[in-house]
């Protein structure tokens, strides 16, 4: 079984290590509750 999460465009900055592994088609073994990424919305709202 699988869970897929889809985030709106430019709403999340996913952790670099996860993106880097995925870009090499390499799955990363993670545990529930560990960090996935940061919201980018506050930054852009502040900028606005």
């Amino acid at each position: 079984s699988t869970v897929i999460c889809v985030f709106e465009k430019d709403s999340i900055q996913i952790d670099e290590d996860l993106l880097a592994n995925s870009s090499r088609s390499l799955e990363t073994l993670v545990r529930v509750g560990t960090k996935l990424g940061l919201s980018t919305r506050k930054v852009s709202q502040t900028d606005l």
């Binding site: 699988t2 897929i4 709106e8 993106l19 529930v32 996935l36 940061l38 919201s39 919305r41």
Partner: protein, 600 residues
């Protein structure tokens, strides 16, 4: 600049034209390299008689980056055999030679490892008995946190660790002696310059004439640097004697790497070098130059300790890379293994899939013939099998399968984390959806809702955009976000969004949690097939598991991330999706959302 010299800031811009600032940055870089030894180590000042490096310990592990020299000295085993040992660290595994037939193998093999605060620091050491024909057998293993080891205040140069039997109850099967020390950063810098210099020092006088220096700059492959070789040569030749010495070259490389890097990529492995991380670049290059020179006693190129133990077959192709060792359509026999990166332990691990399952999955999911068969009733068959399996797993008799299941995944199921004892589970499905003890899965930044967390214990793939996910992972030709979310939910908000896949393996904790805090706007059930969600199917262009499988789509409305689509997808056998929260509920990140269980 105030007390700027006392700070270490590797991210400083190097484009400033202020010469004071420039000098200050160079000084900071030198400080970063040189002063660390005063912060981190206490030199014991003696060699140990075996020709090993003098033992250097760390005073602090904060912000450490450097080269650790790990030496596997000897082992004391319970029986005689021919032994080899492996060290798995980060993405690589190295192995020693094979000992004589003895109870006390002596390897005296060393390996330099890149050690830094945020990088891998736990080394797994595995000892195998060797076989001439068949694969080697793992007899004992141990793990050592190198940063912790190096920061311990100990008078001894070596440490003896117990080797544990990989099968429960993990009895002690022997002991291994090892040593670990930190290479002096100045030594690292000197060795690096020496190695670089030796590439073009044709007359081996330890100095570079202008033609030799010119060849060296060409070898770096940097066009800009190549266009101003004379200028660089003059800058390096401090005493103006017409040659560049080892020290002068080292100074030039340190200064130049700070201003305008001479090397954009590693001349050995071709890896791009991060402009902002000079120290690590130097360490990377040092380690790369050492490979294959005989300086390193342990051989490398393996991804996992299982690979290093394959025996004679693997010798045919010692240098492996996971791209040639991956699952997928064109991966041949290696499709019986999946290599994943363990984020917590910071190393590659290998998952074995039963050979028969692989063959059947490849036959079904990776060929047009197989998928045509799918259309001729196999879909219904998969549903029927899953429903029957669900009923069986809900029966009291199924509980007798639990111990065998735990034994099959002995390395991957930690019963100490499970909330209830084994006797509590009256059916296999109850065990399958087991709860964990409170606190064993801490939620990262629990009070900060602008930090999203992983939704499951799983193998994760994350992509910044849908296009990236299609290019790198999801090969089904019919995949689309609208297809994933179904007809009742508009995909407009998620177009070109980021996509994260959490794949649960049978042995995993099967409850899924909220990645973000917010309100559940809606939950829509979508009926569908129960294809496998194994990478073999996901990577098949003929198969569209994410858009054809049975699934439930939830939309979570979050103030920090906007709308987040949470799609729980059922698979063969495990097709039952149960939610513990519903529409309109406010949920906190990390809170349990529901679980997958056996059924249709």
């Amino acid at each position: 600049m105030g007390n700027g010299n006392s700070k270490i800031d590797s991210s400083s811009s190097s484009s400033s034209s202020d010469p004071d600032a420039e000098e200050s940055r160079i000084a900071r870089f030198k400080d970063r390299v040189h002063l660390r030894r005063f912060l981190r180590r206490r030199r014991k000042g003696t060699t140990n008689g075996r020709g090993f490096h003098s033992h250097t310990k760390l005073g602090s592990v904060e912000d450490f980056a450097g080269i650790a020299i790990l030496t596997l000295i000897r082992a004391r085993m319970n029986f005689k055999d021919k032994w080899l040992a492996c060290v798995s660290f980060g993405e690589q595994t190295f192995r020693t030679g094979i000992s004589d037939h003895t109870k006390e193998p002596a390897w005296n093999s060393e390996k330099k490892l890149l050690l830094e605060k945020d990088g891998p620091h736990i080394a797994r050491i595995s000892v195998f008995e060797t076989n001439r024909i068949s694969r080697n057998n793992l007899v004992g293993y141990c793990e050592i946190d190198l940063l912790e080891f190096l920061s311990q205040d100990s008078d001894s140069d070596t440490e003896e660790l117990e080797l544990l039997d990989p099968s429960p109850p993990n009895a002690v099967v022997g002991k291994i002696s090892l040593s670990c020390s930190v290479e002096d950063p100045i030594e690292t810098e000197k060795r690096f310059a020496k190695r670089i210099l030796s590439i073009v020092d044709y007359n081996e006088d330890g100095e570079l004439s202008f033609p030799e220096f010119s060849d060296l700059i060409d070898a770096f492959g940097n066009q800009v640097a190549a266009s101003k070789k004379e200028e660089l040569f003059k800058a390096a030749d401090k005493n103006g004697d017409g040659v560049v010495t080892l020290d002068e070259l080292a100074a030039l490389l340190a200064a130049q790497q700070e201003k305008e890097p001479l090397m954009n990529c590693c001349p050995v492995c071709g890896e791009a070098l991060e402009v902002s991380d000079k120290l690590n670049n130097m360490i990377h290059l040092t380690l790369c130059f050492d490979e294959g020179t005989g300086n390193q006693v342990m051989t490398g190129g393996f991804l996992t300790d299982k690979q290093a133990a394959y025996g004679w077959m693997f010798k045919l192709s010692e240098w492996a890379h996971f791209s040639s060792y991956d699952v997928g359509l064109n991966s041949g026999s290696s499709a019986s293994h999946i290599v994943v990166y363990d984020r917590q332990k910071k190393r590659l691990v290998e998952e074995i899939i039963d050979g028969k399952i692989v063959l059947s999955m490849r036959a079904i999911y990776q060929s047009k013939v197989g998928l045509t068969l799918m259309d001729k009733g196999v879909k219904e068959l998969l549903h029927s099998i899953s429903e029957k399996q669900g009923k069986r797993m809900d029966s009291v008799e199924s509980a007798k399968d639990i111990p065998h299941f735990i034994e099959s995944f002995k390395d991957q199921i930690n019963m100490n984390e499970v909330k209830h004892p084994l006797e509590y589970f009256k059916t296999f499905n109850e065990f399958f959806i087991r709860e964990l003890k409170p606190g064993v899965r801490p939620i990262a930044h629990v009070e900060c809702d602008d930090v999203a967390v992983c939704a499951a214990d799983c193998r994760l793939m994350a992509f910044k955009s849908i296009d990236d996910s299609l290019r790198l992972w999801i090969k089904g030709r019919k995949f689309s976000v609208q297809g994933l979310l179904g007809q009742d939910i508009s995909a407009r908000a998620f177009m070109d969004g980021s996509l994260v896949i959490f794949r649960l393996a049978p042995q995993d904790y099967h409850r899924f949690h909220f990645p973000v805090s917010g309100f559940i706007e809606q939950i829509v059930d979508i009926p569908g097939c129960l294809y496998t969600v194994n990478p073999i199917a996901v990577n098949s262009k003929y198969c569209n598991v994410f858009t054809e499988n049975k699934r439930s789509v939830s939309i979570i409305s979050s103030s920090d991330f906007g709308k987040v689509a949470f799609v729980a997808i059922g698979a063969t056998m495990v097709g039952s999706i149960t939610f513990r929260k519903g529409k309109g509920d406010y949920v906190k990140k990390g809170e349990e959302f529901g679980y997958f269980s056996f059924g249709g």
